[in-house]
């Protein structure tokens, strides 16, 4: 146990290891305690694709609606998926031989995070989109699925006039953090969320920096400014 804790501290640092330990403890105690810390990252949508034309053509990307829920891998809960669709969030899914091998969700205006009760809102409105829950089946992770899905997502957003994307990435998801670093994403800040029974605490280095509430349904808005926009100005 101690060795595991030491290794966690070594990998993630004291703060993140403590948050992780707190969350695991909550799981053991029946789920009334939750904790997480997320990096908020952003990047400009590039003008062109990652892959050359014709590459990755054995995979194709489709916009999936709730009527095709059964085609999604069971890594996303059915209730959560239906809730996302009903909130206007869209799902881009990537297929290989008619099998869905990955997906990503696109929130066009804002995203009400289910765990943290934070509304991530890219601003200025209409310029950015919030991406969430990028998933690729393990056996396809070292293939062209990732760049193909990434290219199609960016093409989809460019066609809708979006210029940049934001995401929340768990600090414990090392591969995702590394991926965003390699993609030259800008780290805008972080959010720490703690829940003990009905009490919720949010701490962030982004404004508004702190919120303590007992209201489970109430989302606090965290405006995410386009990295090239000086905060408060709104010009691109």
């Amino acid at each position: 146990m101690l060795a595991k804790l030491r290794s966690l501290v070594g990998t993630f640092g004291y703060l993140n290891a403590a948050i992780y330990a707190f969350d695991r403890l909550g799981e053991h105690l029946g789920g009334n305690i939750e904790a997480c810390r997320m990096h908020i990252v952003a990047q400009r949508i590039p003008p062109g694709p990652w892959l050359r034309p014709g590459r990755g053509d054995s995979f194709h990307v489709e916009l999936l609606g709730p009527e095709r829920l059964a085609e999604l891998p069971d890594t996303v809960s059915r209730t959560r998926a239906l809730h996302r669709w009903s909130s206007g969030i869209e799902c881009l899914a990537i297929f290989k031989d008619r099998r869905c091998v990955g997906y990503i969700w696109v929130a066009h205006d804002h995203y009400d995070e289910e765990l943290t009760c934070v509304r991530f809102a890219p601003v200025p409105a209409g310029t950015g989109a919030f991406l969430l829950d990028l998933f690729i089946l393990p056996e396809y992770r070292a293939s062209l699925v990732l760049p193909r899905l990434w290219d199609e997502t960016f093409r989809f957003l460019r066609e809708r006039g979006r210029l940049w994307i934001a995401e929340a990435v768990s600090v414990l998801n090392v591969s995702s953090v590394n991926f965003h670093r390699s993609m030259k994403a800008t780290f805008l800040g972080h959010v720490i969320f703690l829940r003990v029974g009905p009490l919720q605490v949010m701490i962030s280095n982004l404004s508004p920096r702190c919120r303590i509430t007992l209201q489970k349904k109430e989302h606090i808005t965290l405006p995410l400014w386009c990295p090239a926009c000086p905060a408060g100005k709104g010009s691109l």
Binding site: G56, D57, R141, A142, L144, P147, S175, N178, F179
Partner: protein
């Protein structure tokens, strides 16, 4: 291009991707290299395609997970070009 030439160039690209020196003949496997993540894997193979003027198929890319496998595949494709 000879097999040692191919291996030398693959080692150079792999050294850059993994941020450590890689010698010809060394046993390098993806599962033993923390820096050889999915993103690095794709970037490495796309850069090798440009370097050797070959194309790996969508099904070959996930299988090229060691120095030996990459060198073997490049050599095979280069022979096909000749």
């Amino acid at each position: 291009m000879t097999l040692p030439n191919i291996e030398e160039n693959v080692c150079r690209a792999l050294s850059l991707a993994l941020d450590r020196p890689i010698r010809a003949g060394e046993e390098v496997r993806r599962e033993q290299e923390p820096r050889w993540d999915s993103h690095n894997h794709v970037e490495l193979l796309l850069s090798l395609e440009d370097m050797f003027e070959v194309t790996f198929s969508d099904d070959e890319i996930p299988r090229l997970t060691s120095l030996a496998a990459i060198v073997g595949m490049v050599a095979e494709k280069r022979r096909g070009l000749g």
